[in-house]
Symmetry: C2
Subunit: 643 residues, 2 copies
Amino acid sequence: MNKQNKRKQFHNLISIEKARKIIKPHIKTQTQEIPIHQAAGHTTTTNIKSPIDVPPFDRAAMDGYAVKAKDTYGAEEDNPKQLTIKGEIKAGETPKQKIKTGETIEIATGAVMPAGANAVVMIEHTDQQNQKINIRKPVHPEQHVMHAGTDITTGEKIIPKNKTLTPREIGLLSATGHQTIKTKKPPKIAIISTGDEITTPPKKPKPGQIYDINQNTLYSAIKETGAKPQKYGVTPDNKQKIQKTLKKAAKENDIILTTGSTSAGQTDILYKILQNKLLFHGLKIKPGKPTFAAKHNNTLIIGLPGYPTSCLTIYKTLIEPIIHQKTGKTQNQNTITVQTTTKIPSVPGKKHLIPIGITKQKNKHKAYPVYQGSGAIKSLSNSEAIITAQPNEKYIQKGETKKAILHSKHLQIPKLLIMGSHCIGTDILTTNLKQTNKTIHTGSKGGLEMMTQNIPDAIGIHLLNKNQQYNKGYIKKHNIKNAQLIKGYKREQGIITQKNNPHNIKTITDLIDKNITITNRNQGSGTRKLLDQKIKQIAKKRNKTPKQIKNQIKGYNNTPTTHSAVAQAIKNKKTDAGIAIKPYATKHNLHFIKITEEQYDYIIKKTKQTQEIKKTIQSKKFKKQINQTPGLKTTKKTGQKIE
Amino acid sequence: MNKQNKRKQFHNLISIEKARKIIKPHIKTQTQEIPIHQAAGHTTTTNIKSPIDVPPFDRAAMDGYAVKAKDTYGAEEDNPKQLTIKGEIKAGETPKQKIKTGETIEIATGAVMPAGANAVVMIEHTDQQNQKINIRKPVHPEQHVMHAGTDITTGEKIIPKNKTLTPREIGLLSATGHQTIKTKKPPKIAIISTGDEITTPPKKPKPGQIYDINQNTLYSAIKETGAKPQKYGVTPDNKQKIQKTLKKAAKENDIILTTGSTSAGQTDILYKILQNKLLFHGLKIKPGKPTFAAKHNNTLIIGLPGYPTSCLTIYKTLIEPIIHQKTGKTQNQNTITVQTTTKIPSVPGKKHLIPIGITKQKNKHKAYPVYQGSGAIKSLSNSEAIITAQPNEKYIQKGETKKAILHSKHLQIPKLLIMGSHCIGTDILTTNLKQTNKTIHTGSKGGLEMMTQNIPDAIGIHLLNKNQQYNKGYIKKHNIKNAQLIKGYKREQGIITQKNNPHNIKTITDLIDKNITITNRNQGSGTRKLLDQKIKQIAKKRNKTPKQIKNQIKGYNNTPTTHSAVAQAIKNKKTDAGIAIKPYATKHNLHFIKITEEQYDYIIKKTKQTQEIKKTIQSKKFKKQINQTPGLKTTKKTGQKIE
């Protein structure tokens, strides 16, 4: 049997719209009766009427005196009309007296109007003398009286069917004496993760295992919709165990979501259990192709992909709109309009759901790509939303307007976006910022590219130009508009090795010639550029191409995006050496061989919001914290504009 | 003692900003440790770091074959390289074998890379022959391998301090094996209503009592912020009972909110209990002047005004921003920018918080006034948000841009806004609309005014013009742009009396001359205009002014806004007669004397959204439902454009 065919059993890929249509009838619309104070956010299933008048009686709308209006006619400030006080009506009391011509009763706001009275004189327009009051301003009939039923009448429709309730509707229900209300019942949803490779704390992952992510992300995403999630743990690839969990979950829920085990491969036991009960298997979409739906024990099961970004993306686009509809919310909740800052490549022939970061510029939401690979949690955590490229789009063009589905209603678009080279100094900077901010490590060159596309508010860089000067001229060279270079600090860059430098590494040459493995850095990082510059020099001396030298270095393609990752790899003895800045060697108690002292500066956009970044770099607190960090050092020029 | 002075003890009115500053230090910032799947919407109190590498090992990023990259060099589609399969590694397994030159191991996505291999060939680029595979495309070193720690490194800061968590951060926490997280703890808030005039169901209100509204509106508004509300019921104006409830609430909560009993009047016992413990009493704001704060049993008590609209308004502007801050949310949550459609009068000398309705026109949010009096729940329920007029503003000008605080995050701006005359036929119309819609009863003339200001999408009217034609010419007369008159239906208008017409009323003249009380309608309603036209004719005949005739009619100023209210007033024997349409007489089994048959039509804006209104009027279903309603009748022209 051909293995390739064995694994690829997606006969009928369908569109996500069709999948939604297939699923929808299998999710019941149910109602519940709940106390009204718990009902905000829920949606009515019927028109709600008032069983009473509001107010239920004619009431005083002001503190003052209940009168016959005609008794006040002609009253003036210096020529008052005098009336005899016959008593007092407090709010909540039933008036027993009736007033006659020439009489009045003191009355509180909200109190029942006494018989015989047809208006209220405000207390401000009266003064009292013994048992008489002087009225210094006339009132017309019905003035300051609120009639029974003028606010709401018995039988009036106060809330229509299919209305999502807010405190104002809760107010209407309270005023009219409702205690409970019928609303759409949110579905109960089971979440099951599958796979031998997955575990959850407090268990330690065995070699080859990773922690489960999807149960928790789905749980919190489902909870946001108002539906009721329940976690059923991780089920290993074992037929009996999966069947047992499915049976229990089906009994207790309206929908079951499983993650992983969807791709019809040889270990995909879940797929085998359900293969004769499938409603569909395979979506014409990226990511999420192996998604399936099945009906098992009369309960709808939806199988989501195992990769966290794919899993949440398919949940948000396939399932959440149906839950919103079943619970009476607009399907477009949590969508915003964004404009792309750059061309984003897509996959022609199928829909492509693309995670994007969002930044706010001049009151417009701008989208930028953040994709770091389908297995990377950073593809999810660096993004704010998902946009869709249609099957006929090879690219999403720069400047295109797209509807974006936000990952969460709790999501805040950060005020400041900082990219560029990873440095502990930038961590110090961002921790001191008061405005919400987000940092993405792109490396110095990546940061410059992003800056050219007008995406970040600031980038940290450490790049030697042709004149062997740090960071100068790049604003002009990259045609970056409306930005300035602000002096940062000096930092020691060098080779990190294990504690006692067991391989006795002293120079970059040793990384090539000694039979060791290194951890390199990502393309676009200044640190990688530093290594490549050194390699170029060595290659020239040895009469070789730089590529030849690179091929000689084991681990040249180990390319994490942070200094911290380099230090960790060495500390954990996964590799022998790497290039990084001194603070990380110190932090992890590793050996450090200084190669150079570089200048780490910031290119900052000139906007109102970025003022805080500049001011923070200039602050005493920031400088003090920098100088307390081994290998970092401010200079007299720190915080000054260089160009 | 002068009563006026006795009641007005607001010595030091302060601004709402100052009040917020006074309150803030009395609300503690607390932390809690919660399971991560429950943490979405909560805010971190510390920087969160990863205790592990993600992935924790070098893993295959694709289903395929783990190889030494150089073994694949030169492979082509029609000239494959052949390797020997030495086994298989599933996800979650620990590989035991090591591969040598010429060997390969089948590997699943996510599985641990075997020693000796440095790349993965995708299964799509291979085919199997017995224990060999043909590789038809070369790979470079590290291709389709995800290195340990490339996604997240041990010690890396994964979530900063003061970050509100969403499913993506829950994903980061899960991936790194966190089970719980420290977040800001939402405060516990007690809600107490006070006053003898207030009760709650299932109790029936005694004469003079109304149902409590504020406990439920505050409960649902507080819950939206994530804080923990608890209701303590209605406390009557009794010193011992109030003190007992306060003591219990103080023990169990961080903050106590009371409503009512704030105005330092003679029944305001709560105020007297707290008067020596006040932090402030009286705000320079409308509404909400009598608001106070006090410290009692070491707990902060805030006294909110009793009127529901005032109560919720002060909660939203004074208290909610502090709760948002203490729980780590942006203070500007649920604010949007609106533009006023009309001049809105304000109160100079103090801040004025004004409830407004919001409609969306061409992607802009437009604000219109909805105020119906401070005691009216409709002031709250017809509005979507609050805007602020500053003390120096006599008016908010038409077209002004204002920040509006939405009543709720669950609030949906209705797609269609319908105003004008109240008719059961319009209820039928709106019930049939699929787009979200909102109806405000303004009467025919009120509707025309609103239409002139470009506020509603449609209005229902029944107005006789100078030529004794219904509804024609008003679009032009009122200079309404981009609108059309669509034929509605005929309806019988007449006098409603109690069941057997005990006063033997037959004509409008009887309403004047027989010693009875009527319920009239609000100014601006077509029904009131009908009565006024008849009065004018009678006045002319009797050689009197219309005003003189009106003064003769008892209840001329009983002016509810709906036909339903008129019928209810008569049914409940509060008045003897009124003018309304036949359906309401039939519905309540009352006597009906036909005066006229009028034409009820719709003026509809020409927009894409209002297409549905027109189509619904033209639909068979609508026409059928109209003709099933006593007193209503469609004609051949129903649904046609008249002008």
